[in-house]
Every structure is written in C-alpha cells, then in structure tokens.
C-alpha cells in the first residue's frame, strides 16, 4: 500500500524542484489537447482558475457549480488579503522566508516541497491578478500597498479593501466567462456532483443532479478535478456559506481517494459570537482588523460594566501579555485557543459570556477616525448591519468560529489523489498548510493550485490518456453509479420521519464543536464517535424531507449533504483520536506544555495521516514527512 502514497516530490534543491519537475513533465501538442475532456467541479478561485487556464491551453472543459452563477463561490467572502513574497516593502521578505513562515505556521505538518512551491509561485500570481484588472490597494504614487497578517513579521499581504476574495474571484470568473464566450468551457450552474464514476481504477466522469429539474445527468471526461472548497459546515455554525459541503470529496473518498488529516480544522479567532440557537452562520471579521485592533477581556470575572467604564489597568490584553513579540497578530490557532482559555475561565463577555473585545480606541486616537475608516470601513459597516452596534464608539464583540479545513483529499506533488485521473485543488485538498493555515494564504493556495500548478501537472497524466479509449456515458459504470445515486435519494425521500434536516445538523454541530474543535481529548472523542454513529442511525430512520426529487427541492439538497457530513464527522473524530500529540489547530489536552502550549511529538507523529475508506471503516496510511531543508523547532510566538 505504501506505493500508493508516493508524494512524487521531484529531486534537487528545494528552490529547483518545481523547475526540475516542469522540465521532465510530459507535454501534449495543441491538436491533441482539443480531444481531451476535463471536468472541473466547483467554480471558486481554484476551480474557475483551473477551468479558464485549461481552456486557454486548449482542453475541452466542463465546469459545474451548485450556485446560480460561478460568481457566488465562497472564495468571494475572503476579506483580508493574499500573501506574496514580493518584498515590495523592503522589509527582508523572500520566497524562503515565506516558505519558512508557512511551514512553521502549520507546525511542521505539511510537505516541504509543496509549501516552498506555494511561496515561489506567489509573486507571479500578483502579476497575474493585476493584469486581470484586480483593483488592489495602491500608494499615492501608484505602487501596490501591503499590510501584515498573523504569524509573520513582514508586510506581504496584498488587498482590495476588505473584499480581496471578491475581487480575485470576480477576476477568475471573468476569465472563465471569457473562455465560455470562446466556446472552450461549458458552464453548468445549479448542478451538484452526486458521485464520481471510476472505470478500471481511473476517474472518468461524474453523476450530477440538475438542481432546477432535479434530474440526474451523466458526464464523461478524461480527468476530473475537484475544487469544492472546505467542509467546516460539519460544525453547522461556521464562517462558511450555507451551501458549502463536503459531499463531492466524501463521495470520492468512498470511491478510493484517501482523506488526509481530516480533523485539522482552523477555528478563526475573530468571528461574531453566536447569539441564538436559530443562528445559521457566524460572520467572520477579517484578521486584518488585528493590525490595529487590540483584544482584551476584563481582569475581573463576570464584569458587567460597559467597556468605557473599565479603566485601562483593569483590562487584560491577554495576547499581548502571553505573546509579546507577535501580540495581537499571533497566529489563528493560538489566538483562538487563548480566547477560549479566557472564556472558559469565566472572563467572557456578552449576553452568553462567549466573546472577547476587539478594541480600536487606541488606533483611532493614534491615526484618526478617517484612516481607520479608510482601512476597515466596510468591515465596520458590516458589523453594524449585523449587530446594530457602532464599533467606532464601542469595541466589537468577537468569538472563535469554525473556518478553514486544512485537511482534505490526499494529493501528491502533482495534486493528484490516490485515484488516477482525479485531482483536488484549493481548500478541498490537503497540501500546504499543515496543522494550521496562516491568514491570507488561502486565496493564494486556491489560486496557484488552479492557475499555475494543475495546468502544468495534468499533462503528465493526460499525455498517456490520449492513447486510451474515450469514455462514454453509456458505459456500465455510469449506469451502476447513477443507479446507486438514485437509490440513495429515494431512500432519503422515503423515510418520512419526525425530525427536520436542520435538527440533525444542529445535533451534529453541537457534538463536533464540543469534542472536535479547539481542544480535544481521548474520552471526549470516543464519546463523540458513539454519539455521531447513533445520530447517523437516527437520521436514516427519522429524518423528514418533503417534496420530490424531480423539482427544485432545497430541503432534499440539505439532506443528502448532511448525510455525508455525518459520516465525515466520524472520520474527523477518529483522526483526532489517533493523533496523540498537539500540533497547530489540533490541540489534544493530554499533550501540552506547562504554559498550555501545544506539545508536538515529532518522533511518533511526523506524518500526514491519510485514511482509506473500507466499507464504513477507515484504515490509516502514513506519509512520512521528510524535512530536508528545515529543522522542525518548537513553534514559539512568545
């Protein structure tokens, strides 16, 4: 089995690996590219970037998304920025420093060669987006501006107000529609991938549900690319869009793709706190706010005074206290855990005592209101729209929330999963972030995967596929797979129980948040697995979904997505249970230092966990992490 986990890292010094790879990679002549069909599932930054670029190269591309338009994909919601090692600020940045920051930020649980490539391709990516018309922030003289993000001491983040994700996504969407106009891409909006079709061990197509007519459709291709984003909606309350789901990668997992580090989930420190049981989502407030905002709680427990009545000496700026060299810009996992520590100790604020303050008083005094408005105006407006509170006058209330999935389908250096011909790009793969992702590296990874890496690696596989027969949707495997999907949908509709889909999702979310989020322990995880297995049984005997399959049926969509989330939840807990160490966002209470910091166990756990699905059970495979160029150290931000 070990051969299946060959990461295919090219030889040579780290700064030459990508170049060496490209030199040795197979090429396909333009006339042959036209004959090759590629399916892209997802139209966010990685999906749209891949679809547009592959079409420019000459492939015949089909792109699918569940939303009404490619422009809605959740990349749109990333606020703060995108990192690149341009060293425009002349502050000592370099590709190597960015690589090191990312590797250290991920607590040395990612593959060196992938992480280096991420940093290496960051600079040309900014060139690309500027050329596509992204209105990044500029100095008066016309050059590009940078700001800082958590976990680094240089300024390498590029941004377009608080809407960087939106601007990058719209650029990718425009480029995609340029290729649709050129008839090189066919777009299928309101279409959901229901399963993967594997023929003779290779990915050869997908079964799709048309979300308007409800009908099942078959699409064949020479390769399938999944660009379906993160799965933190498994917690129900998260910063993700309501439609974000893990179904495409879960179906691929059940068809043989290994799932890597499923439990590595980033809990973002600055979201708006939950205010009621009916809440459907937690809105993120960009990490960029921590450039100027200071986080604190009262020094006194259960302090009911309003913030302005609490004098300076009675405030605990706990991040500045615990991590003096990074202060409020400590990485996300550390900032979230520190908030949880204060909240659990009884210092939380707000009606449910589940929040901390993010205060701009000092920044406004120092820079003036206009500068702060210019930097964060849209975020303050958003805060006011949602809470009704003016954060220029009183501190924001913020709280940790489930955010990014570092885990995802296991991929090798070429971004191919363990199923030949099936690729995973962007957040849905496990690749560059290890056990914790640094802020503003998400847009970066999605973009370089889609625009630069995949279009260079897919040749290597497709060059051989030209020789094999083109798949057709008449093949028996398409018939069988569609039949399985049909049975699955029929079963959900036939249960006619007594509880809504949302009820089960709330229950799953509570278990996952309690036992598999910011802090985990053996006992809790074991309990969670039992509880989720019971929840799974209850779902399949007691869920109630009204309406039919052959119509727009939003309740049915929620139901089949949740069915996959429940199974994924079990694997996440199994993964967290297996890893008896703390690293990055994975904090096992049993493994911590005297001051409550994560305690890594490099000797035993310096590997990527990759899980194989085996009839409802999961078998662990290990990709040993080789650190050739960097010596893992204790990750300190003190």
């Amino acid at each position: 089995m070990k051969s299946q986990l060959d990461p295919k890292v090219p030889v040579g010094p780290i700064e030459k690996k990508w170049q060496n790879y490209q030199l040795k990679s197979q090429l396909i002549n333009p006339a042959n590219k036209k004959k090759l069909n590629v399916i892209v599932v997802g139209s966010g930054l990685s999906g749209a970037g891949a679809a547009a670029t592959l079409a420019e190269l000459g492939y015949d591309v089909k792109c699918f998304c569940y939303q009404d338009s490619a422009r809605r994909a959740h990349s749109v919601a990333a606020q703060g920025g995108i990192n690149a090692a341009k060293n425009y600020q002349h502050d000592g940045d370099s590709v190597y420093r960015m690589f090191y920051d990312t590797l250290k930020g991920g607590d040395f649980r990612s593959r060196e060669a992938n992480t280096y490539r991420l940093a290496e391709l960051s600079a040309p990516l900014i060139d690309h987006f500027v050329q596509q018309g992204v209105p990044f922030a500029r100095e008066y003289g016309g050059t590009l501006v940078n700001r800082s993000f958590g976990g680094v001491q240089v300024q390498r983040t590029f941004y377009a107000r608080g809407q960087t994700g939106q601007q990058l996504l719209l650029a990718a969407y425009s480029q995609l529609y340029k290729m649709i106009h050129a008839k090189k891409v066919t777009m299928y909006p309101r279409s959901e991938m229901m399963d993967l079709v594997v023929i003779d061990g290779k990915a050869k197509g997908i079964i799709v549900r048309n979300l308007v007519t409800g009908k099942l459709e078959r699409y064949a291709a020479d390769a399938v690319i999944l660009a379906t984003g993160g799965y933190s909606r498994v917690f129900r309350l998260s910063t993700l869009a309501i439609g974000c789901n893990g179904s495409a990668i879960w179906k691929a997992h059940k068809k043989g793709a290994f799932f890597a580090a499923p439990s590595f989930t980033q809990i973002h420190p600055t979201a708006l706190p939950q205010s009621s049981e009916a809440q459907s989502k937690l809105t993120l407030m960009s990490e960029s706010l921590r450039n100027d905002g200071r986080i604190w709680v009262p020094k006194q427990k259960n302090d009911t005074r309003v913030p302005k009545d609490i004098p300076e000496e009675e405030r605990d700026y706990y991040l500045e206290r615990r991590y003096p060299s990074f202060g409020n810009l400590a990485p996300r996992d550390i900032a979230s855990r520190a908030a949880k520590e204060r909240i659990d100790a009884g210092y939380g604020i707000g009606r449910l005592k589940n929040a901390v303050y993010l205060d701009f008083k000092h920044a406004i005094e120092k820079f003036g209101l206009d500068i702060i408005k210019d930097r964060y105006g849209n975020l303050f407006n958003m805060y006011k729209k949602i809470t009704g509170i003016d954060a220029y006058k009183t501190p924001m209330l913020i709280s940790p929330a489930a955010h990014f999935s570092m885990g995802g389908l296991w991929v090798d250096y070429e971004l191919m999963t363990t199923i030949p011909g099936l690729y995973a790009v962007g957040e849905c793969n496990f690749s560059d972030h290890g056990a914790n992702r640094l802020g503003a590296n998400s847009l970066l990874q999605a973009s370089v995967d889609g625009y630069f890496i995949l279009p260079n690696t897919i040749n290597n596989y497709l060059a051989d596929e030209i020789k094999s027969e083109q798949p057709t949707t008449e093949h028996q495997e398409f018939e069988n797979t569609e039949h399985e999907v049909q049975k699955h949908v029929d079963k959900i509709l036939s249960i006619n129980g007594t509880q809504t889909v949302d009820h089960f999702h709330r229950e799953l979310g509570k278990i996952m948040w309690q036992e598999c989020a910011m802090s985990r322990n053996k006992k809790g995880l074991k309990k969670a697995i039992t509880q989720i297995k019971q929840l799974n049984k209850d779902f399949w005997t007691d869920v109630k979904v009204t309406g039919n399959q052959n119509e727009m049926n939003t309740e049915l969509e929620k139901a089949y997505r949740l069915a996959d989330f429940i199974e994924l939840g079990i694997l996440m807990c199994e993964d967290a249970l297996e890893r008896e160490e703390s690293c990055g966002a994975h904090f096992r209470e049993e493994y911590q230092t005297k001051d409550g910091e994560a305690l890594r166990m490099d000797e035993d756990y310096s590997y990527v966990s990759a899980w194989e699905y085996q009839d409802g059970d999961f078998k662990l495979h290990k990709e040993q992490l080789e650190f050739e160029f960097v010596q893992p150290t204790v990750r300190s931000y003190k």
Binding site: Y88, H128, V130, S174, H181, S280, I386
Partner: protein, 247 residues
Amino acid sequence: MKVTFKIWRQENPNTKGEFKSYVVDGLTDDMSFLEALDHLNEELVLQDEKVIAYEYDCREGICGQCGVFINGRAHGPHPNMTTCQLHMRSFENGETITVEPWRAKAFPIIKDLVVDRSAFDRIIESGAYISSKTGTAPEANAIPIPKAIADKAMDAAACIGCGACVATCKNASAALFTSAKINHLNSLPQGKAEASERLEHMTYQMDIEGFGNCTNTGTCEVECPEGISIKNIAEMNSAWMKQKLLG
C-alpha cells in the same frame, strides 16, 4: 416575536403563482430575516408541506445570491443592505411582511422566490474581461496606477451582482450593473486596450437580454447593497455617445 409572512408561491415557471400567508411564532429580534424563513420552512416540513424556495449562500452580504422584495422594497426596509443582512429587529411584533421575488422580464421566476439571473452572466460574457492568458502578465508594479484611479475602479468593482438595481427600477434596467463593470475595467490601464469593444458589446447584450432603458430615477443606487453610484451610468452613457459620435 410573532409575524405573518405573506409569501409568493409558484411551483415552476409554467404555473400561476399566488400569495400565501403563514403565521410564524417563536421568532426573536436578533434572528436574521432568512433565519426566520428557515424557521418557517422547518415548520412546513413538520406539517408535511413543501418548503419555500429562496436563495442565499454566504449570508454575509457578499455573494449576491440572496435577494427578495420585502414590503415593496428590494432587500427590505433599509438602504444599501442585502436580504441576508436584514434582522427581525427591523420589524414590529405582529407585522405582516410581504415577500416577493425580483420581478423583471430578464429575470424569469424559477420557483417561489427564486429567479433566473443568468442574463447578468451573459452580459459579463460579452466583454467584462481583459484578454490576457494566464502566465503572460508583466511585473505587477511595472504599471503604476494612482490611488485615486485604483479607488474609483474598486468603488465600481464592488458590485455583488444581486440584481436589486434591476428589481427596484421601474424600467427593470440593468444600467447600474453594466456600467459599474464597464467602468471598473475601462478605468484601469490594463483594461484600456479593449475599452471600446467592451462598452459596445456589453451595452448591446444588456439590450438583447430584455432589460429596460435607464431614465435616471436613481432608485438603483438607493437599494444597491454596495452603494454603487449612478455616476457610473452617466459615465457609461457619455462614453457611449462619444464613441458613437466620434467613432
């Protein structure tokens, strides 16, 4: 909190729709408007009824997928806000809230409150891009763009494509949407090369999709969640006239 929702129900594009009333209890002030509809849908399921179809995704005002008419206003009672950002504290206890889909010829109804806005995608497809391939870009700082120009491009680029401008306009005009996109790209040095074709093709596409003409009523900028200014329309019209007259 208890309210009555009067909601447009329509099975599919070929059937006749009608308003149906639903009394919903157990709501709270801090619930969002869409969470109140979620709550109603859960009740409908338990009563063995089909759920109401409405659109949303990000629920933080940026994806542009949500959008309904609430008490006669696009995205509800407040200016410059999306439906997902609206909260129940904006309504009175006992109030009747009328909810309708966007109504415009170019946005046909699919089901209940869901409409087809693919006309917007086709306007984008007709020219809202810069024709450079991946891998061909020059160094990012090679072409300085003064802050004022970058800021102006960003103001226009902020459009979320929700369609409130069309829905609220008595002519169902897409002039704000189209002009914002044209101005975003045409004001940047990278977009200049294709500026005149872009203007020509996108305005042409806007017409053939069946959107009405702009008569400068200004309602669009009031409802636009991003507050995009109607100056964009003036600029587009003036550039169009110049192009027609001077070539």
